[in-house]
Symmetry: C3
Subunit: 266 residues, 3 copies
């Protein structure tokens, strides 16, 4: 069981031009002025739980044991959806029960999930439109003050998870899809290094042929520097996923491709 | 009288793609490496003092007592406008004398305002174009080093305040206006929960009729989740203000409405 | 020789909508949970080493002695370009060997540069596409844990520097150029206060005539407040450089001018 560190990370779709994130930080520091607050990302596409879940899973595990990770992408705020607090063998998590935790459940073991019910850990504020400030921020901050995890509320055994698409074999090709387009326009797919190895074994080709949006890419390169400016290349990225890129330009723009575009390996 | 904490917040219109905010942070840490620096918001519309004042008032009060709040939206930098330092019963504030403190004066009691005159608290730098780095950042940092508030300069009794529009009764309707459009496109008005209660009492309608830009909204809902995708709804937001929104889409875009648009309650 | 402080600054072109910066922060805090991490700027134009180098030089020197400055604008990641760690009489620097350190070399004395070769200071991760997370972040973090500078790798004496254009005399005019356009649209030039003094001496005009993109500006003013809304003015900015601006509007937009535009003083 992890001991709560005084590090709290924040991931939201609140953007950077209002005061929403700042209010959450103020609430945290009012409870624990010694807390270290780290912004993961506040530019998740508005209300896009899947985008938030993918960004969350891609970075939370680089933080030290005991870190408290808070994610608020919350179109259902004020409705009956439950506010959750969870712990794994390494971390704590606070998020609305709307699927944000989907990938965390895949990656973490020994997850215990509870509803944040205890009113002592809530901010007494007007309205029911800002649980980031009134529920999730104080819940995380009180954890750094050694409040027991079990005191937050009842165990939740049916937390919401959205379906995650896995690559499938169709005849002699493995078909995956683009799951995230990053700021450089790189196309991150749900095809992992393990899948690539499977394709190599089955097809007996050391360098699989990759097809996306009518383009063919012949095998993998080792780094962005081996790319080309005017055509797409593929590599295994820093998270171990197959990624389609162009050198110093946007593959998303060049190939006119976005999330959910199929990618075939054979 | 508040004891200065080592927490300094920053609100500016410097954006996030140059080095202006970073320079301010460097100056603060050079004076006090233990200071905790929190970004409130650096995306205030360029030179828009009213926008900055509204964002400031919406979050500063969530921070712990003794926090030093610095705001720099400063079209008059280098002119005769005075740099100010102020304290209330809870907080300290640093800002140019151009109206940024307007809403703070409304909300805080026992405000004492002084001009930052003492050259010991200024950075000796070239030019007179960057008081954020050369005047306001070091003034705040020296406060965390226990420099006495009275040592900054003379008392100022005529700090600039811009006129704040209050909702008015026109015949049998209360007429307010949109004062802020947030990142989701929600329309925040200057009509508060107190005003809504007043309308209810006078009109004897538990659910007032709200008119904005030719659209009618029948009463208030309790949360964003009760909204509709294709028409506007109204609620009391997390700051206790009447807010017009659309579910998971921009009310500003749908109604083609921005700041200063009138809103009528009857 | 500086003693490493526990302050680490980050400058990248990773933007603010993915998880790349957050991963670097997680790696740093996993090595030293007490580190203070400051964002300089993550909005450097993608792969634009010169833009990054200019932003870096404009703010690093405001930080306290011993600060560790990390910059990652790294189109050559995964290629043979070397990862560098350097120290001057005041600071430490981590960056790829692609010219990012160019202006630092101009400004700092007693620079000692080494390659980051020691695998103990690297994160053991998949792929070779994210040296920000796997090489530069841990290298900086281990320095705050008092790892000796000499233990990182061999001395590098031929670090890459790009050519820096200096203003030149052409007949009776000094010709410089725009080197940076800031968020307000102000045009920062490579003409310094020293150059302006030289022009004054040589031309015997106390107020030099400034020409840019077909516009003439008659001398310098002291602050932005002395500008005009519909025509350009010039001043010495907070870094001691000649800057062309319009009052509360974008000089870049009004004059249709961007980086490398010539500016003549006579």
């Amino acid at each position: 069981m992890p001991h709560p560190a005084s590090i709290i990370t924040l991931l939201t779709d609140f953007g950077d031009r209002d005061w929403f994130v700042a209010s959450m930080k103020g609430v945290i520091l009012s409870i624990n002025p010694q807390a270290t607050i780290i912004d993961l990302n506040h530019r998740i596409s508005s209300h896009d739980v899947q985008d938030g879940a993918y960004a969350w899973k891609s970075c939370y595990k680089y933080f030290p044991d005991g870190t408290i990770h808070v994610a608020v992408v919350d179109p259902g705020v004020g409705s009956e959806r439950r506010p959750l607090i969870a712990k794994s063998s390494r971390y704590f998590f606070c998020a609305p029960d709307n699927g944000l935790l989907t990938h965390v459940f895949e990656q973490e073991v020994d997850m215990e999930v509870r509803e944040i019910e205890n009113k002592q850990y809530r901010l007494d504020a007007e309205g029911h439109t800002f649980d980031g400030r009134d529920v999730f921020a104080p819940a995380a901050a009180w954890l750094t003050k050694q409040q027991p995890f079990t005191s937050y509320g009842h165990v939740v055994s049916d937390a919401h998870r959205f379906p995650v698409t896995q690559p499938q074999w169709e005849q002699s090709a493995l078909v995956g899809e683009v799951v995230y387009v990053d700021v450089f326009g790189n196309l991150i797919t749900n095809v992992s290094l393990r899948h690539v190895k499977e394709v190599r074994e089955i097809t007996k080709r050391p360098n699989p042929l990759i097809k996306i949006a009518g383009h063919s890419i012949d095998g993998l390169v080792g780094s962005y520097a081996e790319g080309a400016h005017d055509s797409a290349r593929a590599l295994i990225n820093s998270d171990g996923q197959l990624e389609i890129f162009c050198k110093e330009t946007s593959a998303s723009g060049l190939l006119k491709v976005s999330r959910q575009e199929p990618v075939k390996l054979s």
